[in-house]
Amino acid sequence: MSEQAEMSEQGKVTWIGKPVPRREDRPLTAGAGRYMADIEMPGMLYMVVLRSPQAHAKIVSIDTDAARAMPGVHAVYTAADLPEELKPFPVIWRPPVLKDDSIAALASDRVRNVGEEVAVVVADTQQIAEDARELIRVKYERLPANVDPIKALEPDSPRIRDEWDDNVAALFPFRNGDVDAAFAEAAHVVDGHFKINRHAAMPMETRGVVASWDALTETLTFWSMSQAASLLRTELAKSLDLPDNAIRVMTPNVGGAFGAKWDRYAEDLLACVATRRLGRPVKWMEDRREHFQSTVHAREQIQDWEMALDEDGRILGVRGRAVADLGSCVPSSGIGTQWVTGNTIPNQYKFENYSADIIAVLTNKARAGSYRGFGGPESNFPMERLMDKAAKELGVDPAELRFRNQIQPEDMPYPTATGMAVYDTGDYPGALRRALEMVGYEKLREEQPKLREQGIYRGLGIGCYVHCTGFGPSAMLGMINYDTSGYEGARIRIDPGGKVTVYTGMIPLGQGTETSLAQIAADSFGIDMDDVRVVWGDTSQTPYTGFGSGGSRSNLAMTAVMNAAEQLKAKMIRIAAHTLEASPDDVEFADGHLSVRGVPDSGLTMPEVARIAYLAHSLPEGEEPMLQTQQVFDPPGFGWAYGCHVGVVDVDIQTGMMDWKRYVIVDDCGPMVNPLIVRGQIEGGVAQGIGGALLEEMVYDEAGQPMTSSFMDYLMPTFHDVPDYEIDHLVSPSPHIRGGFKGMGESGVMAPAAVVANAIVDALAPFGIEVDELPITPNVLWRKLRDAGAFEDGRSAASVG
């Protein structure tokens, strides 16, 4: 059912589907946002962290005497000073194949990556704390480091965890059908060795916390930018041995997160310990250099895949392995990311035989956790590269090969080759067709040879993608050993004056939560958006959410709001019917008005009904006073968004530089609540995907020292690096979600790497160059061109091939 149809059952659709500018914007553009760094309190103390300069070493001794003695220093904590009962944070996604690991507050006898927390100093000012940190002396005994995940698999490589037999945290096997038989009967087999670069979410606001213990009431107020505030509260309670209800997690404005703020971090615990011991508020703000070293990285995988096809180019099966570098510790999300990679390899294509070994290995680098796309870009890149390789092998156009293999709308719901996913709805060939039409594919193909004659190497790259949204049904999370829930709640209170307040557990990170939930609530009651307030970011008021913001779950919160509104409307109808001496069946609710059917001006307004509900002088028998309710929505299934990107690039074969000509996007996230916000999410996601494909890489030297510690050596896309995004939409509502909405926060980031690589390979087809490693820098391309003989006789290189 479309959102239009769905809403028309309830009333007029005024706000949903409209590009309403965001209510968040007025304060944020005025500089009146209140971010973590802006929170100051009387008596506040400042915490700084001493981090390991070593990638892998034994801690021989720590001397904190001079630091402790410095005037203005309130405390210095090392692992030895921490209360015994302080428990490390657990890993949330723990399939049986994953070895035990957890996130400890401070390193005790051993450091395992540059940036690992060794000690903290708490002082009157940030400056004093930083100066005192300089006085701490730590003696390390260096150990050999693991930097390369493949080498870390070797039996004699340095061990990261002494209690493990090797460095493998988990091997998760996907097995479906008979993949070896498929390969035995294949007419064509293509393969590739793929490297997906270590990069990171890199929000513009670094991490930070403010913790404040009230000794008299024994309560802890914790300002956090965590994407999972309720979950964090429960985990803090366990770690600190406090009841959940003694902890209030508050969220200020958050300057971007993209998954990096979903993980749990040592500083969360350390600030709590400090405030509890010192009885004063404690603030910690990460600087950018620390962010590079100790906020989660992501994506790094080395993969080998093979694809078997019949003589018509139909996929018979895929097999391979992905080795993921987790860094020095298993992240909060466990091997969730890597599991998603394995689970989305089939992408938009029909086949049954699949085998994959997903291997997660520890190394002496920063922990790798969540980043927008969560394993999806890591499967999209190899799969879409394989499609192009297969097209080349068969001598058919890459678009044509995709059409031959795509799942058709009538195949839905479609259980994929992994045996673990069922796509709900979608017109995959329709999205590809529309994207080709928008870009003018045939004409571009015709022009290509002529341009090459003029020395212009123009290439077209296609990237089709799927995106698992509304993560996810709680029972399903249980089945895959995700130790949290997937539902989303909404509380609505109509005040005595008749205005609406929505309480959400969603954490706004820039995705326009307030605006879109206000749109939903306003249409649910048929009222003005200005009459709806949205409250977020305070676990003492807002509904519990086990998962938090991430996993493209806004659609779940929206459904919860609709359901809660429905409850209150039913109650208002009962109260109005009682007052108007009519049967509830005869009372209509439209545009915030309640009237007896057929007598539109007979009725009551919402404020009038609210007054009756609050006065409670004359309510129907058994009716509870006031107007408030909470609804929880646990989706029955995932909503799979999907789409297709087509990019056009020119590559300068003398320099290896590339230049965007076009970037076309066709996305289907079901009906859109706010097209302005959807567009923003897509554009931002594509830019991040392009950054990962062309620019961004966390580089470590052989000793495990990070070479990228600032924006000077870690390049993010800027104004110059992004194309003009040309966007269109298809609309396939999800049957699992009221309104049909699918999530859309991560779609944009799925395909750009494949698009870029496919376009570059296409542009350089005369040289037979393949690009299977990211990032694709001009250096890399220039070397490939040189090796392919492109420079042998100057510009006449164009005649090669």
Binding site: A30, R34, A201, N253, G255
Partner: protein, 173 residues
Amino acid sequence: MTGERKISLRVNGRQHELEVEPRLSLADALRNELGYTGTHLGCEHGMCGACTVWLDGKSVRSCLMLAALADGAEVTTIEGLAPDGDSQHPLQAAFSKHHALQCGFCTPGMIMAAADLLQQNPHPSEEEVVDWMGGNICRCTGYRAIVRAVMDVAESGAAPPASDPEPEPSSVG
């Protein structure tokens, strides 16, 4: 603390006298000493532009500048950009209209940089906008919405021209 130095700053039309340590940056002085927290810090080494403010009418990175060196200067921050107290600068409205901000963390710096461009060059080409803004990083929007917002104001000519917003010129030096 040793070596504190007295300086005076005129911020958004208000005169402030303050004592600063020599190593205090202008950004920290604005944020921590004077409460202008609309100026954000994304990198503290001059690479992201989130801390962009105007010093004597020209955009600068306040994380790189020492507060002591700004002694006597006229500073404009995002809080003081709107031409008169209760309204918005056209760029502030255009950023919202074009959804040129998401988390809003880079936004004050973006707007301060773009407003400086428009006062120097009221009708820039798209290329000029891209070149001028090239040093400001945004992780959320993918940039094109910001270009659309700036171009909208450029084309409508709504941005106020360069002029000292204060009746009396500041007494620098």
